[in-house]
Amino acid sequence: MNHIALKMLMGDKGKYLGIIMGLTFASLIMTQQPAIFVGLMARSYSFISDVGLPDIWVMDPKVQFIDDIKPMQETELYRVRGISGVEWATPLYKGMLKARLTDGTFQTCNVIGLDDTTLVGGPAVMLEGKLSDLRRSDGVIVDIDGAKDKLGKPASIPGGKSTPLKIGDSLELNDRRAIVVGIAKVTRTFQSQPVVYTTYSRAKAYAPQERRMLSFVLVKAKPGQNMDELIKRIETTTGLAAYTQEGFKQLTYTYFLKNTGIPINFGITIALGFIVGTAIAGQTFYNFTLENLRQFGVLKAMGASNGTLLRMILLQAVLVGGIGYGLGVGIAALFGFLMRHTILAFKMPWQLLVFSGTGVALICVMVALISILKVIRLEPAIVFKS
């Protein structure tokens, strides 16, 4: 009976396409919107991923996420270095500082101070210059987006294009000269401020003097260390908080999940996509079944069981669901691909496909169920009614 079910479905091209379009729409929304959501959430911790190398981040226990800087005393670095199982530990400065541009305007920058000797935590992708150029006096590396946009020299005529900051240009950080020695590509974060890399000691000089300047201690564990135990050792010895890279990412995005309106906003969009998709697909599929009720009645009169008809409708639902899902996910992926060089956040891990797949399956089951109930209640005697 399967081929009959399929021919019935595809016989009515208009309805067939209508149902598929509804499901495509639903799976598109249920894939694309969460993909943007996941992409955005990943931005919350992209700085942690960019730093990459260290196994463990040590910080003040009150820190709630990556940009929540609670400076520590520098002595903490040496205490961490002394803990057994620590291969190396380096300081990291992270803070917002005002830069004075050549035209006299100010721009807040996200200044990252890297360990003077190792430069651990530097940008992974250098577009111009080398990371080691940071050792040159007053050297800073700026990110390409910042260099092009916020740190660029404003156009001489209003509305004209600004000139990007380039190697050799200078800016002023807290009345001190900084010279651009490199341009880097960094992963986008929530902060739209330009990122300025420099050495730890120079960052301290740029920043207003405070007793506590150390933002994080980055730790590499000795080979074969049990991370949990090392973290516990660090925490009990120093009274600080320590997280693995994964753990710190999790801390960060959990903070954003709990404390921003992002999840609820996306949740609403996704729910709407689900509802509208269900409505369109459900409506057309139900209509399709209603119009074919007579055909189902004929089959019933000729001895086809409810079970057989149920399987036919399920097969029809599974087919349109599969096609709609494939198209929706395909369009979402294409969208993500086309947007890959833009500011848009977009990430489509496999869990997301399971999520939208489940959503579409749910729609199909609901849609098929209404039709099945109608067909089961159908009296075969209707076949003689004209």
Binding site: H3, K7, M8, E379, F384, K385
Partner: protein, 236 residues
């Protein structure tokens, strides 16, 4: 002349449709025997209960009271699964509106009863092509219903009703949608390929032009059988 065995026995059948606010008595004590190998026509004014009666005989509608035995089997008391199987094996249907599945071609439409009976698709469609040959549509096996004339569609429907060699074929107004000549041809075809000593044909019709094809005619009025005659001339 040998006495033909009884194929269908209706005893005091009543059917009351309950539409919620009112009750319609469609059948009011129908008694009738239909014999093996005969073509029985049911005639009578609109609304007298003809369709209701053949629906009950064919087991697609339950009577309110009375007894209907089809080849000795009481469909009312049969378990629903057995009833379906009984219908699938023993009954062929022909409708006024043909009721072919519009997206299946002629051969596929004809093969449906075999497929319901569990026959493999390839076998079923081959048999269907043979059956279409018998009803004069051997060249149109791949045509969709929409590509066929009314008469041709009704031939496909007849082939579908016959394909699984059922013992009973019920037809509701099989010629009413056709012109005189096509209707005549359809009835000829019925007599030739459908009628058989092992089979009963029950045909509901308004169409006086085809009364001559009947072995017996049962005239109904107001929910019961008024008389059963052997030829159209006796109807008055």
């Amino acid at each position: 002349m040998t006495v033909k065995p009884i194929a269908i026995r209706c005893q005091n059948i009543t059917k009351i449709y309950d539409t919620g606010d009112q009750q319609v008595t469609a059948l009011n004590g129908v008694n009738m025997d239909i014999l093996m190998g005969e073509l029985m026509m049911l005639v009578g004014p609109s609304g007298c209960g003809k369709t209701t009666l053949i629906s009950i005989i064919a087991g697609i509608l339950d009577q309110t009271s009375g007894d209907c035995k089809l080849f000795g089997e009481n469909l009312l008391t049969l378990h629903s699964k057995d009833k379906l199987q009984f219908r699938a094996e023993n009954i062929g249907f022909v409708f006024q509106a043909y009721n072919l599945l519009p997206s299946l071609n002629a051969a596929e439409n004809v093969s449906v009863p075999l497929i319901i009976n569990g026959v493999k698709r390839a076998v079923a469609e081959r048999k269907a092509a043979d059956m279409l040959e018998k009803v004069g549509l051997g060249a149109r096996t791949k045509s969709l219903p929409a590509e066929l004339s009314g008469g041709q569609q009704q031939r496909v429907a007849i082939a579908r009703a016959l394909i699984h060699s059922p013992r009973l074929i019920v037809c509701d107004e099989p010629t009413s949608a056709l012109d005189h000549e096509s209707g005549h041809n359809i009835m000829h075809l019925m007599k030739e390929v459908a009628l058989d000593q092992q089979r009963v044909l029950v045909i509901v019709t308004h169409d006086a032009r085809i009364f001559n094809f009947a072995d017996r005619i049962a005239e109904m009025d107001d929910g019961h059988i008024v008389k059963v005659v052997n030829s159209a001339a006796e109807l008055k």
